[in-house]
C-alpha cells in the first residue's frame, strides 16, 4: 500500500496551439485535504479533467495511480468506479427532482426495472446525515438554498462511495456561514479517511483548511508544501508563487497621455438574476479617460463581465448607480441604446455571443453597424464589401475570401472579425472582455497593436483580462474587482502582479 491514495505523474496535455499541462506531478495522501491553487489558466481545471476522465486516456501523456494501481480512464464513469468524485462550480443537480432522486441519479436503488424507494430513502438519510443536512430526502432541489445544494452534491459523492473528493471553487457562490459549514463538513470527512482536492481562489480558506498545498503556474507544478511542516505557506507567499514569472516583452507598451474623463460610472450595482438578494456588482465607481487603456483585473467570477455587460445594457437588473458619457447622463436599456451613444462591447464568449458562426465574414463584420452601409434600411451590398475589405486588410485577417464562413476561421482570426465588427460602429468607448483568450501569441500581439492604434485615435479602451501579465503589460491604469466590489485602483507604474493579485483575492492592502 502506498502512502499516497492518488499519484499523478508527468502529465502533459496539449490543446491545439497551447500546452495546457506541462509535466505536472501531483500526489494526494490518504485522508488529507490538498489544496490546488494557481492563477486563471494555470491548468487546474485541465488537471481535474484529466483526473476525472473528461479528457480520456490517450489524449494526454503521463500516469495516474490510485492506491498504487495505474488507471486508464476512458470516461467519467471509470474514474467514479475507483472512487473519484468531482463537484464542479456549476452544480450538476436536476432542480425539479427531489434530493433522493438526485442522490441516486443513474445508480437508482432497487431492481433494474423498479426503484426501491424505501431503501433509497433510508440510504439517502444516511448520506445526508454525513453532511449534517437535516432535510427530507423528498425535498425538491430547487427549494434549497445554494449552500444546501452544495452539500447535497457532497452527499451524492458519498453515496457513490467516493474516496477522493474534488471540489472546484466550492465556496464561490456561498456566503460566510455556508462556507464555514462546508469547510467543517470537509474536515469531518477527512477524519473518516476521505481525501479531498480543494481548488479555490480564496486563499484564506486554503490556509485555514488545507493539509498540503500545490501551486500550479503556466501549466507546470511550482511546488507542493506541507501546511503542518516547516515550509508552510502564508498568503503573500502563495501569491508570489502563483504569479512568480518574469514579465517579458510580449506587450507593445506605448505611453499614452490620458485626456478628459469620457465615461464615468458611479455606484453601479446589479442584481444577481439567480438570486435577487445578492448583488453581483456592488457600488462600483470608476472613470475612463480619453486615449487610455483601463485594465480590469480580478479572478474569474468576480463580476467583471457582469459589470461591463450591465453597463452595455445586456445583463441583469440595475439596482443603483449612474453612467455618464462626457458629462451627460445615460439611460441605457439595451445594447442598441449603448451602441447609439458610442459604446462597444467585445464579449469574452466569441463563439457563443460574438459571432454568428454560420454567416460569412462580411455579414458578421457589418452586423452591429448595418446603418453604416445602408440607406433607408436597404443595404448597399457593394459598399458592404468595400467596408469589410478595409477591415480585413487593416486587421490582417487571414482568409481566402470575405465570403468565408467565420466557423471555418482560426480563433485569432475570429477574434479579429469581432474586433472589426465593433470598430465599424465607431465607438468612443470600446470594452474588451478577455480579448486574447484562446488565441495564439502572434494574433495576440496584433490585437495589442490594434488597441494602441485605436487609443492613439482617441478611443477609450476598457480591457477585462484574467491574464495578469496582459493587464499589467497593456493598461495605463488597472482597477481590481473582488466579489462584485472595487477593491483597488493602481497606476501601471505601481501595479505589480503581487499587488494586483492581493487585491483580487480580497487582501486588504490599499
Amino acid at each position: 500500500m502506498s502512502e499516497h491514495i492518488l499519484e499523478m505523474s508527468n502529465i502533459v496535455k496539449d490543446f491545439p496551439g497551447v500546452r495546457a499541462l506541462d509535466d505536472v506531478s501531483f500526489q494526494v495522501k490518504s485522508g488529507e485535504i490538498h489544496a490546488l491553487v494557481g492563477e486563471n489558466g494555470a491548468g487546474k481545471s485541465t488537471l481535474i479533467k484529466v483526473l476525472s476522465g473528461v479528457h480520456p486516456n490517450g489524449s494526454y501523456s503521463g500516469r495516474i495511480l490510485v492506491d498504487g494501481v495505474e488507471q486508464q480512464f476512458q470516461q467519467i464513469r471509470d474514474s467514479e468506479d475507483v472512487g473519484i468524485a468531482v463537484i464542479y462550480q456549476e452544480l450538476a443537480l436536476v432542480p425539479q427532482m427531489s434530493v433522493v432522486e438526485n442522490l441516486f441519479l443513474g445508480v437508482e436503488r432497487g431492481k433494474p426495472y423498479a426503484i426501491d424507494w424505501d431503501t433509497a430513502n433510508s440510504e439517502a438519510r444516511e448520506c445526508l446525515d454525513e453532511v449534517n443536512l437535516d432535510i427530507s430526502p423528498k425535498a425538491l432541489i430547487r427549494n434549497l438554498g445554494i449552500g444546501k445544494q452544495q452539500l447535497v452534491e457532497i452527499a451524492k459523492a458519498i453515496a457513490k462511495k467516493a474516496r477522493i473528493l474534488v471540489l472546484d471553487e466550492p465556496t464561490a457562490a456561498l456566503n460566510e456561514q455556508d462556507s464555514a459549514n462546508l469547510l467543517e463538513i470537509l474536515r469531518k470527512l477527512r477524519d473518516r479517511g476521505v481525501s479531498c482536492i480543494y481548488i479555490s481562489h480564496k486563499l484564506n480558506e486554503v490556509i485555514e483548511i488545507a493539509d498540503s498545498v500545490t501551486v500550479l503556474r503556466d501549466g507546470k507544478t511550482v511546488s507542493t508544501h506541507d501546511m503542518q511542516g516547516p515550509d508552510r505557506l502564508d498568503e503573500p507567499r502563495i501569491v508570489s508563487l502563483m504569479v512568480g514569472r518574469e514579465l517579458t516583452e510580449r506587450f507593445p507598451r506605448v505611453e499614452h497621455t490620458p485626456g478628459e474623463v469620457v465615461l464615468q460610472v458611479q455606484n453601479w450595482s446589479v442584481q444577481d438574476p439567480d438570486n435577487p438578494n445578492k448583488k453581483i456588482v456592488d457600488a462600483v465607481s470608476f472613470d475612463v479617460r480619453r486615449g487610455e487603456i483601463l485594465g480590469v483585473a480580478g479572478l474569474m467570477g468576480a463580476g467583471r463581465t457582469e459589470l461591463m455587460m450591465s453597463i452595455f445594457g445586456a445583463y441583469g437588473k440595475r439596482v443603483g448607480g449612474t453612467i455618464a458619457l462626457r458629462g451627460k447622463q445615460l439611460d441605457i436599456r439595451n445594447p442598441g441604446d449603448a451602441i447609439r451613444v458610442g459604446l462597444a462591447y467585445v464579449t469574452e464568449d466569441r463563439k457563443g455571443k460574438g459571432l454568428v458562426l454560420g454567416m460569412d465574414i462580411r455579414h458578421n463584420t457589418t452586423l452591429a453597424a448595418l446603418r453604416a452601409v445602408s440607406r433607408f434600411s436597404i443595404i448597399d451590398l457593394f459598399e458592404e464589401i468595400r467596408t469589410t475589405e478595409q477591415y480585413v486588410q487593416a486587421l490582417r485577417i487571414k482568409t481566402p475570401s470575405i465570403e468565408q464562413k467565420v466557423r471555418n476561421l482560426s480563433g485569432g482570426n475570429q477574434q479579429k472579425v469581432v474586433l472589426g465588427k465593433w470598430m465599424l460602429t465607431q465607438p468612443e468607448v470600446l470594452i474588451l472582455d478577455e480579448p486574447t483568450r484562446g488565441i495564439d501569441v502572434g494574433a495576440k500581439f496584433e490585437i495589442y497593436k490594434v488597441m494602441n492604434e485605436l487609443v492613439a485615435k482617441g478611443v477609450c479602451i476598457v480591457m477585462i483580462s484574467s491574464e495578469l501579465p496582459e493587464v499589467l503589460g497593456m493598461s495605463d491604469r488597472v482597477i481590481v474587482i473582488h466579489q462584485g466590489t472595487l477593491s483597488g485602483e493602481l497606476h501601471w507604474s505601481e501595479a505589480t502582479q503581487e499587488k494586483t493579485m492581493t487585491l483580487a483575492t480580497g487582501g486588504l492592502e490599499k
Binding site: 462591447y345 454568428v356 454567416m359 452591429a368 465588427k421
Partner: protein, 401 residues
Amino acid sequence: MTRQKTEQSSLHMLQDQLRQNIRQYAMFIALISIGVIFTVLTNGVFISPRNLSNLLLQTSFIGILAVGMVLVIVGGHIDLSVGSIVGFTGGFAAVLQVNYGFNTATVVILALALGAVIGVWQGFWIAYRAVPAFIVTLAGMLIFRGALIALTGGQTVAPLAPGFRAIGQGYIPRLFVNVDAVAGFHDLSFLIAVAAIAAYVLLAIRARTRRKRYELTNLPMPLFIAKIVIVGSMMWFVFSIMVSYRGIPYSIMILMALVLLFVYITNNTTFGRHVYAIGGNREAALLSGINIKLKTFWIFVIMGGLSALSGLVFTARLNAATAGAGNLFELDTIAAVFIGGTSMRGGEGTVVGAIVGALVMASLNNGMSLMTVPSEYQLIVKGLILVLAVWFDASSRSSNS
C-alpha cells in the same frame, strides 16, 4: 501580403461547389425524379401542359405561405396556424362578398388586413410575452379554425364574383394573337418569359463583373456559362408550360412578385439580415443591438398577411369558402421549406429553395391525385416525406461541421 489568394482549378471548384451545395442539388434532383416517376406511372398525363399548368396553380397558394414560412423558420420559430388562417381569412372574404355584397377590391383589402391583425395577435404573444411560437400558433390553429366554422356556420359560402374568382382561376390576357382560347401560343406570357430570362442573364453577368472588381471568387467562365444555360432553360421550361397553355395565371404572377420581393428583403435589407442573425445566434444578435422582439413581431405580422393572401387565392380557386379550407396546409408549407434547404435550427434558408420545395409538395399532391391514390395514403406519404426532408437536413449538416 495580407490575403491568401487560393488558386483553384475548375475541377476543384466544381467539386467544392457540389459539396457545398449538396442540399440545393438534392432538392432539384428530388423534384426531377418525382416528375419522372409520376410521368411514368400516369402514362404521361403528369407531363401534359394542361396538368403542369394546373400543378403551378396548386403550387401558388402553398408557395405564398412558404415565402413567409422561410422567414419564420430562419428566425428560429414555427407557424402551425397558417392553414387555419388561410381558411378563416378566405371564409371572411367569401362571407363579405356573398352575404354582404362587398366588391372584390374591398374584400381583398379587408381580408389582408384581417390576416395582418391575426399576425399582430400572434406576434404579440410570441415576441412580447415570450410564449413559444409552437404554442401560440398551435392555439391559433384551433382558434382560427373555430372562428371559420363559427363565421360560416359550417356551410359552404359561394359563389364569388368573377373578379374575385380570377385571382385563383384567371390568366393574364393576350395582347394580339387571338387563336384558340385554351391551347396555343400566348403572346404576353411569352414576352414576360423572355423579359424574365433576359433580366436573369443580365443580372448574373452584372453581378459577376462587380464581384470581379471586388476580387471575390467567381465561378470559372465555362461553369458560369453552364449555370446560366441550365437555370435559363429551367426558367424557359416552366414558362413554356404557361405560354403554350392559356398563359400565366394571376396567382402565379402574384407568387413571382412575392418571390422577387422576398428575395430582395432577405438579401438586401437590414430587416432580412437581422432575421438571419437572430436565427443564427440570438445572443450575438442581441449584443449587436438588434431589437429581437420587434423583428420577431414583424415576422408574424408578415406571415399573417401572406396567409390571408394565400387564403384569397385558394378561396378564389375553389370559388367557395368551406369549413375544411386550408386544412393541413401548414404541413405542406413546413415540408416545402425544409425540402428547400432551410435549417430547422434557424439562421439558414432561402426563398427560392422554399419555392422549389413547394413545387415538390404540389407535385406529390398532384401526381398522387392523378393516380387516384386514396387520401389516407397521400397523408402517409407526405408525412414520411417531411421526416425524410428533416433527417436529410440534419445529417448533411452534422457531417459538414
